[in-house]
Every structure is written in C-alpha cells, then in structure tokens.
C-alpha cells in the first residue's frame, strides 16, 4: 500500500528535460527550478502540459548543451549552499551555452 504513494512522491520530485536530439535528462525538480523559465513552466497553474507530466522538451537545445546546463543547475545549488567550486566552461561551448542560458533565464 505504501509503495505506490512513495513512488508518486519520487516522481514528483524529478523532472525530465529532453534535448533537440531526443536525449532525456532526469534531474531533481529543485535543480531544474534554478531556471526561471522551467520554474514558470512547472509551477504555472494548469495550462502547460509540462506541469502535469514533469517533462520539458527543448527543440532548440542540443544534447551537449543541455547536459552542461544540468551540470550548471547542480553546481548552482551547491554554490548557493556555500560550496564555492569552479564551474569550468569549454570555450567552444560558450556561445551555445550563453544562448541557452538566456532562453532559460538562469
């Protein structure tokens, strides 16, 4: 009896981010909410399909960049909790990453 409700809680805590190529990244909702855009999608009442399924597709963001973005979300949470490590960005990713960050308001 307890099992389905537990998995339900777990499901709510995770979200799935899908890249342009269809790769899926399952990350914690808390991390994803670092992005103001995702936060709005997941918390706005009703209208978004994303709110119900906890799934967001980004047809404009490539897998490499979305992976980096997810890393950044977790780094950002760590940073906010006082663990000040360096977040390395490969120069060849800077342009795409910048544009994704701009879109995601992060």
């Amino acid at each position: 009896m307890a099992e389905p409700s537990q998995s339900k809680i777990k499901k709510e805590e995770m979200v799935k981010l899908i890249s342009a190529e269809g790769f899926e990244f399952v990350i914690s909702k808390k991390a994803a909410m670092v992005s103001q855009t995702i936060r709005n999608m997941l918390t706005s009442p009703g209208s978004f399909a994303e709110t119900e399924h906890g799934e967001v597709t980004f047809p404009e963001i490539s897998t490499t960049i979305l992976e980096k973005i997810c890393q950044y979300f977790y780094w950002s949470l760590q940073y906010a909790s006082g663990k000040e490590t360096e977040f390395h960005i490969e120069p060849e990713l800077t342009l795409e990453l910048m544009m994704a960050a701009n879109y995601l308001h992060t």
Partner: protein
C-alpha cells in the same frame, strides 16, 4: 545581463585568444545570437584587448549597438569592417582620434544607423559631414569638439529626423543655425562655445519641440520665449533676460547658470515660470541680490557656491528651505551666524556643502539640527573639532558629537583642516557613516585606532597625516572597508604598504608607494606592447637611479615619459604585433 551563467560564458569566451579561436568559426550560432548577448561579448572582448578588425566581422549580423568610445586602435580598417554591420543602429566613436572624415565613407551603407557619436574626433571634418547626409534615418548626432566648420553644419539640414544634436565647441554661426530651421523634431541642442549671438538665439523659436538647450560660453544675453524648454544651460554668459516674449511660458525645470553674470537677476528671471523650476545652479555667478530666491518655491537643488551669498542674505534661503534637498554654499562668506539662521529650516536637506566658508565649530551644532542630512562637506573651514569648555575645570570637548542625531549621515568630507586625533572621538557613534575623508597634517596613528570602531565605513581617507608603519600594521579595518586612502603619509614605507595589501587583499590601499597608484593606466591592446613599456621603464631607471622622478611616474599620460625618439621607437616595436593576422 544579470544571469550568472551568461556572465560566466562571456568570461570564458573572452579569456584568451585561444578561447576566441575555439568559437569564432561557429558562424551560424553567431548569426542568430540575440543582440544583447552579442553586444555583451563584443564589448568584453574589446576591454580584454582581444578584438581586432577581422574578428569584428563575426558579429555583423547580430550587433545593434556598439560602443568604441576612447579606443585608440579604432581606425579606417575598423570602419571598413563596420560598414557591413547592416543592423547597427547605434555607433559610439567618441575620442577615437584616428577617425577622419574620409573614414566615414566606409559606413554609409548602414541604413539603420540612428545614433552616431563622433565627439572629440579631431580629424572629423566637413568632408565627413558630407558623407553623413546619406543617413536620413539619423536621430542622434554628436560632433562636439571636432574639426567641423560652419559650412559643414549647414549640410546637416538634410537630417530631418534628428532629435538630438550636440554641436558643442564648434564655431556655429548665426547663419549656420538658421540653415538648420528644418530640423523640426529637434529636442536637444548643444551649442556651447559657439559664435551664436542674440540674433541667432532668436531663431531658436523655430524649433517647436526643443526641450534642452546649452548655450554656455556664448555671447547670448537675451533668450526669446521658448515654450517647450525644460533644461537650460547659460553658464559663463552675461544674462539680461530669459524668455521675454508672447505665448505660453516655458515650464523650465532645470537652469544652470554657473559663472554667469547678472546685472539684474530678478529682472532676468521675471519671465520664467518658476513654479516648475526644481534645479538651480548659480555657482560662481555674479549676482546683484538674492531677493528672487523666496519666489522659487519648487526648487529642491540649489547651488550658490562661490556666489556673493553672505550671512545677511541667508534669510532668503530660509523661505524656500522646506523643499531643499541639496544646498551648496561652498566658498561663500557664510559663517556660523548664517548657519544659525538656517538651522531648523531645512528639514529635508540631504546634501550640505560648506567647504571654504567662514564657519567654525559653533556651526556644527546647527548642522546637527538638519535631520535628513546624508552628506556634508566642511573641507577647508576653520573647524577644529574641539572647543574649550567654559567652567571651573577647563577641558577640550569634541564638537562633532553634535552630529550624533543625524541617523542618515553617510558621507563626511573634512579635508584641509587642522583636526587633531581627539576631535575624531565622536565618529564612532555616527552609525550610518560609510564615507569619511580626512586631510590634516596633525593626525597620527591614534586616528586609525579610533576609526576602526566605525563599523559601517567603506571608504576612509586620512591624507597627509603622520601615520607610521606600526600604526598601519596594527590597524584593524572595519569589515566593509573597500578603500583606504593614506596618500601623503610621508612616514610610511613601501614594505608596510605591501604588507597591508597582502593582509587585506580586498581593500584598495591608496598611497604614492602602492602598486595600483604607481603604474598609471596602461591601455595598450597587445601584451607585446606592455612588455616593451616595462622594459623601457627598467632601462630608464637603471640609467639614472638616484633621480626618482615621482611626478613623471604618476603622470596619467604615459607619453610624457618618453622623448620623441623613444616614442617613435615604441611605435614601431608595437605596430607589427597589432597588424599580425590572427
């Protein structure tokens, strides 16, 4: 651009020329980049000295605004590349001294260009203006202090969309101004230092939307009624009448007339609708009387610095005191008696400037009665900060304690005064103080000790004081301190300065021997150039070590340090590095 990730990306992209190489061929990405991001990246590259003409090209589809102000490297080659920026709407080339009139020919293809700033480009001339006439969309143009003559200005008449025109420092004649009458959208016009006379000023009525006008340093003495005007600058003019004429009166909000001469100030201002005037600058103006002041009921900013204001006319300020937030009486003959008259009548005053006035310690208690004060300047006054208490056991009492009720006081300037350490005791109870500037030759280490108790201080200056190495070493800075200025502390040695900077890396220590104050600003684009300069330095000092010319070292303009021959040599040692294709 408040996003941290974007900032980090920009930093990483502009980290080195290798980083640039890693992304510069991503053309499709660069083409669809939002303009704000592209501009932020471009300007970061520029300030890191990594931008060169052929790299500019990758931004040509994305950048809309470009600020190249003061970049010495910008020349005709840059302009040739800029010509392909079809989406460019704003280009700032102020102080790019290599830009000539002919170089403008390269950019005539930018049909979207709305704003162009060529201020102080001395090679800019009438031929350049001829090219400008192919920009009918131009809305904002600044050509102050260029080589443009009256003839060139007449060519501007075709730019009918102009709403902002800065012609400061140009020899604009009345005739040239009359040819601009077709610019009906003009809202802002700067004509300082021009040859405009009263007959030219009369033509200003033909600009129906003019809201801001600068006629400083001109021969204009009479202004016609300009009903749309809100801001007027008549500094260094001799003023007989403003806005005399028929029609609606202008709702002037701001009048600047510093260094102006008024024969009859009440008469000159009689046509001004004073109900809207909130900012009045009459610093160093020659004024016959201050009787007009009580009528200025809306003024919040009043600058009477250097004017003939004295204790007998202070009563005129009292009448409008309730609204004032800014009052400057710098270098006037106002004394403590004048402050006594003002006390209690300035409930909203935030800034009070009294430097160089005749006030003494008695004034401090009156200043303490102005509850909203945030900034006070008492530099160069006779205030000692200590008075002898009358009574049986005569003792010295610090006077600054009278400021303790000023709960919002953030900034205090006390330079060029004979302040002793004991006068500083009350500062620890000024809870909001963030900026304190002291300059006194009789302050000692004890002052540092006393001020370490002022917890909110961010900027502390104790200049020309008798500070010792031991004093600096034992100083515990307040937690928020960012700048410690001990210039003129002649007992301090380089070792102590270095030690302090190491101990507190977040605090900028200013002293003649501190590294940051010594090197001057090198603004060379390539690392090769910097290397050359430092080698030069080394050689120069090794030739004549005993003569350590401090003034040359501190000079901002690095060129002063070199002879003509040395400069030529430098030029050729730098040039190949810059033109080397990357």
């Amino acid at each position: 651009m408040d996003s941290r990730l974007i900032q980090m990306c920009i930093e990483a992209a502009a980290e080195s020329s290798d980083a640039v190489e890693a992304w510069r061929r991503q053309r499709r990405t660069l083409e669809r980049m939002p303009s704000l991001l592209a501009e932020a990246l471009l300007h970061r590259l520029l300030h890191r000295g990594l931008l060169f003409p052929s790299l500019l090209e990758v931004f040509r589809h994305s950048v809309e605004k470009m600020d190249l102000r003061g970049q010495n490297c910008v020349d005709a080659e840059w302009m040739a590349y800029l010509g392909s920026f079809h989406y460019l709407s704003s280009l700032n080339l102020a102080d790019c001294y290599k830009i000539s009139g002919a170089a403008l020919w390269s950019i005539i293809g930018i049909t979207n260009l709305k704003e162009l700033d060529l201020s102080r480009c001395s090679k800019m001339n009438d031929a350049g203006i001829r090219h400008l006439s192919s920009f009918p969309s131009l809305e904002r143009l600044c050509i102050s202090e260029t080589g443009v003559s009256s003839e060139g200005i007449r060519l501007l008449s075709s730019l009918t969309n102009l709403y902002y025109l800065d012609l400061g420092g140009l020899a604009v004649s009345d005739l040239a101004l009359s040819s601009l009458q077709g610019l009906k959208k003009l809202q802002f016009l700067d004509l300082w230092g021009s040859e405009i006379s009263n007959s030219g000023a009369a033509l200003l009525q033909y600009f129906p939307k003019l809201s801001s006008l600068n006629l400083a340093w001109t021969k204009v003495t009479k202004l016609p009624n300009l009903s749309s005007l809100e801001f007027l600058n008549l500094s260094n003019c001799t003023i007989t009448s403003i806005f005399k004429g028929e029609g609606d009166k202008a709702r002037l909000a701001k009048l600047v007339a510093s260094n102006a001469t008024f024969a009859d100030v009440s008469g000159a201002l009689s046509n001004v609708e004073i109900a809207f005037l909130s900012h009045l600058d009459l610093s160093n103006a020659l004024i016959d009387s201050f009787c007009f002041l009580p009528h200025l009921t809306s003024v919040t900013y009043l600058d009477l610095g250097g004017s003939p204001m004295a204790d007998d006319s202070v009563e005129n300020i009292v009448c409008i005191g309730a609204k004032l937030t800014y009052l400057s009486l710098n270098n006037t003959k106002v004394s403590s008696e004048g402050m006594e008259i003002l006390a209690g009548h300035l409930p909203n005053l935030e800034t009070l400037l009294l430097s160089g006035t005749y006030i003494d310690d008695a004034a401090i208690s009156y200043i303490g009665m102005m509850p909203s004060l945030k900034a006070i300047n008492l530099s160069g006054t006779k205030i000692k900060g200590l008075i002898m208490q009358e009574g049986s056991d005569s003792s010295w009492v610090p006077t600054f304690s009278a400021l303790q009720n000023l709960s919002q006081l953030e900034r205090l300037e006390l330079e060029g005064m004979q302040l002793k350490d004991a006068a500083l005791y009350p500062f620890s109870i000024l809870n909001s103080l963030t900026y304190l500037s002291l300059q006194s030759v009789i302050l000692t280490d004890e002052s540092l000790l006393l001020l370490s108790a002022s917890q909110k201080l961010e900027h502390l200056a104790i200049r020309d004081a008798v500070l010792t190495n031991a004093g600096l070493n034992s100083f515990t800075p307040p937690p928020n301190l960012r700048v410690l200025d001990v210039r003129g502390g002649w007992l301090l040695t380089e070792d102590a300065i270095v030690l302090f900077s190491r101990k507190y890396p977040n605090i900028k220590l200013r002293h003649e021997l501190a590294v940051s104050d010594r090197g001057g600003d090198f603004r060379y684009s390539s690392p090769a150039a910097q290397k050359t300069v430092s080698l030069k330095n080394a050689r120069k000092f090794s030739v004549s070590p005993p003569v350590f010319d401090k003034s040359a070292l501190l000079a901002r303009d690095q060129r002063i340090k070199y002879t003509r021959e040395e400069l030529l040599e430098l030029q050729f040692s730098v040039a190949p590095a810059r033109f080397f294709p990357r």
